[in-house]
């Protein structure tokens, strides 16, 4: 899932015919001042980072005098919000707000369909709304059709207590937001608030669009919008995470998923989403943190396993490596192990000093065991030892007295 920056999201809303508060995205204090003058009157400055909760984190400022925009933008630019450095600021015209609505579209696992949410009491965090005024938030599943019939929006707005011409206007905006959601392969489209201004018009003051990476193949335009190396969902990618993306790009035949944890000391290469979770849980249960999580889908994996192992072991401060995964159905595991062992041998890893535990099971296990024997000291387990027992082995080994970093 990739969260677009707010100005990119607002642009998608405008293209669908939703009225948005006038805005400009700038990257210098001088440009912020110029934008404030051009927009006229008081403006809102927002840090453009791909994360929520900006208001609470101090990333939103209201400026009454355009002359103050430069210094306020200067404070935001160069600061860090959440984990993201602020390199761009949104300058947005203030709107005379009379009422605030909340609108969102996403998917619901239980109804297995898109779901549309609306509240006539927007302008607050949706978490707070759900907690404090659950009855004020209405929702309904919607059919995944090419266009949303406007009656769906009317039903939802009416359920939230909107009536008259306003109801028709709300339904119109909801129909357009559905088009944004559908046509851009959105995973989430959220407008909070959708304001009613002094003239009774509906104006989007804020927009969040999260797009579904699984649909990237049909959205070449995303290459211009989204920096794939920009975020792993909650912070910018680390150097090692960027390196892993480059390794992954060497061959489209299989896909790597990788995360790095600052405070971890045990490199973890347990493949299979579920086995990665089980391994992670058990490491934490035993008081350890993985330095990495690593998953790879079936395909031509040997070279990627080799490159990935080399990259991971370049990380300073590691105390051991646990590699493997659940019993394989697809990938002959000797192919995987060959890649890992080639990296270990090339790096001159002494598994007597730097503990390495393998838990590989599936086709090719006998050959994998022989390959692993090339690096003396690797503990090799198959399905007779559970994933949790393999985790217990690596934890016991790294805690043996006299162990140092690799």
């Amino acid at each position: 899932m990739t969260r677009l920056l707010e100005h990119q999201s607002l642009l998608l809303l405008e293209a669908a015919g939703v009225t948005v508060a006038p805005y400009r995205a700038v990257d210098t204090p001088a440009a912020a001042a110029e934008a404030a003058r051009a927009l006229g009157g008081p403006v809102i400055l927002k840090a453009l980072v791909p994360a929520g909760g900006r208001q609470k984190a101090g990333g939103v400022t209201r400026i009454t005098e355009p002359a103050d925009a430069a210094s306020a933008a200067g404070r935001l630019l160069g600061s860090t919000l959440g984990h993201f450095p602020v390199t761009q600021v949104l300058v947005q015209a203030c709107v005379d707000i009379r009422e605030e609505y909340f609108c969102a579209l996403t998917f619901d696992s239980v109804t297995r369909s898109p779901v549309m949410l609306f509240s006539a009491e927007g302008g607050v965090d949706v978490e707070d709304l759900v907690r404090d005024r659950p009855d004020a938030l209405v929702s309904r599943p919607v059919e995944p059709t090419a266009e949303l019939p406007p009656f769906v929006g009317r039903e939802l707005g009416a359920a939230a207590g909107v009536s008259g011409q306003r109801l028709l206007d709300v339904a119109d905006v909801l129909t357009r937001l559905y088009a944004v959601f559908r046509n851009n392969d959105g995973f989430l489209v959220e407008v909070n608030p959708l304001a009613v201004d002094g003239a009774g018009r509906l104006v989007a003051l804020s927009a969040v669009v999260v797009v579904d990476e699984q649909a990237e193949f049909r959205h070449p335009e995303w290459a211009r919008l989204v920096d794939p190396a920009g975020s792993n969902g909650w912070r910018p990618l680390t150097t090692l995470e960027r390196a892993m993306r480059e390794i992954d790009a060497t061959d489209a035949g299989s896909a790597i998923r990788f995360n790095e944890f600052e405070d971890g000391a045990i490199a973890c290469m347990m493949t299979g989403g579920g086995s990665g979770l089980v391994t992670f849980d058990h490491l934490r249960r035993l008081g350890e943190t993985p330095a990495t999580t690593f998953d790879i889908t079936p395909g031509r994996v040997e070279e990627k396993m080799y490159l990935a192992t080399k990259a991971i072991l370049s990380r300073p401060g590691l105390r051991g490596l646990v590699a493997g995964g659940n019993i394989s159905n697809f990938i002959p595991i000797d192919v995987k192990v060959r890649g890992v062992v080639r990296a270990l041998a090339e790096l001159g890893v002494d598994a007597a000093r730097f503990p390495v535990v393998f838990r590989y099971a599936g086709p090719g296990v006998e050959s994998a065991r022989e390959i692993a024997a090339k690096v003396p000291g690797i503990e090799f387990y198959d399905e007779r030892v559970s994933l949790e027992e393999a985790v217990e082995r690596i934890v016991a080994r790294v805690r043996e007295p006299g162990r140092g970093p690799a």
Binding site: M1, A51, H83, T106, F107, D108, S109, V110, R112, S113, P114, V126, E127, E143, P144, R182, D185, F187, D212, Q214, A215, F217, R218, N232, G233, W234, R257, N259, G272, G273, G274, S275, G276, L277, V278, F280, D281, H282, L283, R284, R285, T293, D295, T297, P298, G325, N326, I327, S328, N329, F330, A361, G362, P363, E383, R384, S386, L387, E388, E389
Partner: protein, 301 residues
Amino acid sequence: MSILLDERSRVLIQGITGQQARTHLKYMLKYGTRVVAGVAPGKGGVDVDGLPVYDTVHAAVRNHPVDIAVLFIPGRAAKDAALEAIENGVPLVVILAEGVPHHDTAEILARARACGSRVIGPNAQGMISPGKAKLGGTGGQFPERMYMRGPVGILSRSGGMGGEIGSALTRRGIGQSTYVSIGGDLLIGSSFADLLPLYEADPETRVVVLFGEPGTGHEEAAAELIASGRVTKPVVAFVAGEALETLPRGMSFGHTGGLMARGLGSPRRKKQVLRDAGALVAERFGDLPPLVARALGLGSS
């Protein structure tokens, strides 16, 4: 007995000429799965492992009654292939692909509801009724190493961990009725709550194991069903990913369904509601086999 799949089930393979399909087709046939035909658009008329190949599902089902279609089709083309199976009246459609766009899955599932087809997946590994038949990648080349016939039903959001459960039970001499890999995506055609009633009705199944993960409302819906009394057979559950709750929000692992949105789908909470509903919840994966043995009245060891 078993659920959804047995030695009589007539299976159609869509995308039969692809590399993965050809590999796993051989294993399926060797295990006794009754594969009747294949579909490969533009390649109709060829023969794969002695099976007729058609250009369209329409032509295939006209010549061969089909109970199940298995899609060896990449994510970007899965919607087309799944709609083709659904609109041609295939009652059970198994989508193995990872990476099916959410909007496509929503469309597939809506059409399946309208046409009365059941969908398994996407992002499912397959399924096996041990000793009878297997579909997709489940069990790989040597399914007998991991699965044996017996009284335990398995439903898993992780294909790989379903195999680990099968293997751990089989090594203790506990067999399985049917294992279904239900798929790791946020939107899937058949959830725990959809399939639990099938096990309830299956005379061979005596206990059902669920492997859950963070995100979605599937475990919560299963708990609700159990609490309602509509599932009387013991349910043993494991929910992975509790350690994720110690991480910043927004972080996602492997499965897209693992994305925890707005604090919903917390593993801790899932375990609590399952426990409250009367399921036996394993804290560690290693606790699963003894809990299953206990539920079967075999005593734990």
